[in-house]
């Protein structure tokens, strides 16, 4: 942000938020999920990371049991549409559709609209800065 910005920005805009960072499906590329988890924690959030190879059913169950404010799915295998849809279904089945869902990873621009239509609140790609991602989350979870 430009130095001229007069608004004092909190360094922990996600304080008080519980966020589940999840790796659905078989994709093993977890560095993005871990980097985001560490950055969210630095921004004040309480972060739970699922580890690899989790089913949509498992992710929704943990999200509900842990009472999280948001779930972030990290997917780099090209299966983001199918997996996001399954997570949405599983959350809905548990009356937990109010938990904010985010998707990050290798997501072609052409698929963003479809994900948003499914109910995903925002899509994060690698060329976004961590700061942009955190500000977006803070805004969506306000």
């Amino acid at each position: 942000m430009s130095e001229s910005s007069v608004e004092q920005k909190s360094s922990t805009p996600l304080r008080g938020k519980r966020i589940l960072v999840a790796k659905p499906g078989l994709d093993g590329h977890d560095i993005g999920a871990k980097v985001v988890a560490l950055a969210l924690r630095d921004a004040g959030a309480e972060v739970i990371y699922t580890g690899l190879r989790r089913s949509p059913e498992f992710i929704a169950r943990v999200a509900v049991d842990e009472g999280v404010d948001a779930v972030g799915l990290s997917i780099l295998s090209g299966s983001h549409c199918e997996l996001a849809r399954q997570v949405v279904d599983e959350l809905t089945r548990r009356d937990a559709a109010d938990i904010a869902l985010f998707v990050g990873g290798t997501i072609p621009e052409g698929d963003h609209a479809l994900l948003l239509e499914l109910g995903v609140r925002a899509v994060f790609t690698n060329d976004m800065t961590l700061d942009e991602a955190i500000q977006t989350l803070a805004r969506e979870l306000r």
């Binding site: 430009s2 994709d27 093993g28 560095i31 871990k34 980097v35 560490l38 199918e82 961590l130």
Partner: protein, 539 residues
């Protein structure tokens, strides 16, 4: 053109005083910075200048493009296309269900069928994948780890079916499980039985397919995840030593098996870091083989490696810039003496390459090979004040990181505890923050970016949406057609052999493949004996 980001947030870039690996780089290197006695001759110990005395004159590097998607039919067609364009070796990309050991009908498998590679659940599919390709004439590399022994067994079974003698087979299986636990994630079994399976496949391969590389110890994935060039080499050599120790424990002769160990790395954009990394790694490996294990056969001291150019150094912003990045990286790989090169297509950062982008990636290598002439003379940068001094500094840094791992208790402990994984995650965060701040310059993304710039890739790749249904249908028909009792009998024998510690499992796996037992069945059989890896989540 503007020197700063569209938001005006970033200062114009300056040339940093250190390399991407954090190694101090002098404004001017001179004779006082080098020690010619450490360098040696090409083709001679310690191989700083390369493993062959004549460099690429005798034999050019292998042009080997990683490729595979959808069904075996579609991938077979792409392989024929690439071979027609002058590619000299195949590199098979397998889908995640095949890599993680799930059959296509498993609920975990369904969303991933054919996405990041070709689906290969049984011998029938492998026969289709290699239809019309003479396995005695081409070398085939498989990026396969958790199920490497199974896919290798399947390749042997295809060769048997084609009537190709096994001894004639050339190629590589990645078969490097240690880095899967750290950065790539297609582990299946716990560390110790996985190490056994790897030793089984290497020892069997040495005896049955002596021209085949049964392991490619890979640093590429930790590098792409955030490790520096020096750390990439250090982790890889540390893993290499762990495999050597395991093979010796199993009674392998290091003078023999070390001849078939190969390595695999990323090449990113810091040119001299990359050249120095390969020269330093090659020298250090030879020194370790000789000094630690008393290896005397030069072939068993030689550090042979393949590379991939691109990966996370490629970005979605102005994707055509990636063509230039890959060309620079390929030149670094050649200057470093790589045995095989895979150039990523410019759109590979976000989709399966189209035929157009895949061809351009092959052409890039051909231009560097045949137009630039940089490969005419072996190790053309040898003796350069800067390159030799940077090689020495790089080796020092690699050795320092290896000592840290040793001090922790070795790679296997570091992985089982999740220490290495956590360290890598921290590196990934540091790298992301440096890119976000613009300290690491990425042209077109965090610097020199226009508000109205075009980021389209042009042609989009479309995977046929019916792939999944076709794969499942073919899978069912194989199950219906096979002799079920025979398949079950081979799986039972596999289970009995896996329950013992000293039986080599490879012959059993080949029998299973011949009986059309599936990858999922073989993996389930072994899981029942060994359990699954429990990921130490430390975040």
């Amino acid at each position: 053109m503007n020197d700063s980001d569209a938001t005006g947030r970033l200062r114009p870039p300056q040339l940093s005083q250190t390399s991407a690996s954090g190694i101090e780089v002098p404004v001017k290197a001179g004779p006082e910075d080098i020690d010619l006695s450490r360098i040696g001759e090409p083709g001679k110990y310690p191989f700083t200048r390369g493993i062959f005395p004549d460099g690429y004159r005798g034999r050019l590097w292998t042009i080997r493009q990683y490729s595979g998607f959808g069904t075996p039919e579609e991938s077979n067609e792409r392989y024929r296309f690439l071979l027609d364009q002058g590619q000299t070796g195949l590199s098979v990309a397998l889908d995640l269900p095949t890599q993680c050991g799930y059959d296509p009908v498993d609920p975990m498998a369904r969303p991933e069928i054919g996405k990041v590679g070709v689906s290969l659940s049984n011998l029938s599919e492998a026969e289709i994948l290699f239809r019309g390709l003479d396995l005695s004439a081409i070398s085939t590399s498989f990026t396969i780890n958790g199920t490497a022994a199974i896919i290798y067994a399947m390749y042997l079974a295809v060769a048997d079916k084609q009537g190709v003698p096994r001894a004639k087979l050339t190629g590589t299986i990645q078969n490097d499980i240690l880095k899967e636990y750290v950065a790539r994630g297609t582990w299946i079994f716990p560390v110790r039985p996985s190490m056994r399976l790897i030793a089984d496949s290497i020892l069997y391969s040495n005896a049955v397919t002596p021209r085949f590389n049964p392991i490619s110890i890979a640093g590429a994935h930790v590098r792409d995840a955030g490790a520096t060039a020096a750390e990439e080499m250090a982790y890889t050599l540390a893993n290499g030593l762990a495999y050597v120790d395991e093979l010796r424990r199993r009674g392998g002769d290091v003078e023999k098996f070390a001849q078939r160990l190969s390595f695999f790395f990323y090449v990113h954009m810091d040119f001299f870091d990359e050249v120095a990394k390969f020269r330093a790694g090659r020298r250090l490996w030879a020194q370790l083989m000789k000094e630690r294990y008393g290896v005397s056969d030069p072939k068993a001291q030689m550090f042979r490696f393949g590379v991939v150019c691109g990966g996370s150094s490629l970005v979605a912003a102005q994707p055509f810039n990636n063509v230039v990045r890959v060309a620079v990286e390929t030149m670094a790989a050649v200057m470093g003496g790589a045995q095989s090169i895979f150039t990523c297509a410019f759109d590979e950062a976000f989709q399966i390459p189209t035929e157009f982008s895949a061809e351009l990636a092959v052409r890039t290598q051909q231009m560097i090979a045949y137009e630039s002439g940089i490969g005419r003379s072996v190790d053309p940068l040898g003796g350069s004040y800067l390159v030799e001094s940077h090689t020495n500094r790089m080796q020092g840094e690699i050795e320092r990181v290896m000592r840290e791992i040793d001090d922790y208790g070795g790679v296997i402990k570091a992985i089982e505890d999740g220490w290495l994984q956590m360290r890598l995650a921290e590196r990934g965060l540091e790298r992301k923050r440096r890119t976000d701040s613009g300290e690491t310059v990425i042209v077109g993304q965090n610097h020199f970016r226009r508000d109205d710039q075009k980021n389209d890739v042009g042609e989009l790749f479309h995977l046929d949406p019916r792939v999944s249904a076709r794969v499942i249908e073919k899978y069912q028909s194989v199950l219906d057609a096979r002799n079920g009792a025979e398949a079950k009998a081979t799986l039972d024998k596999l289970a009995a052999a896996a329950a013992k510690d000293d039986e080599n499992l490879m012959p059993y796996l080949v029998d299973c493949c011949h009986a059309y037992a599936t990858v999922g069945e073989m993996v389930a059989t072994l899981k029942a004996q060994w359990g699954e890896f429990q990921e130490p989540v430390r975040i």
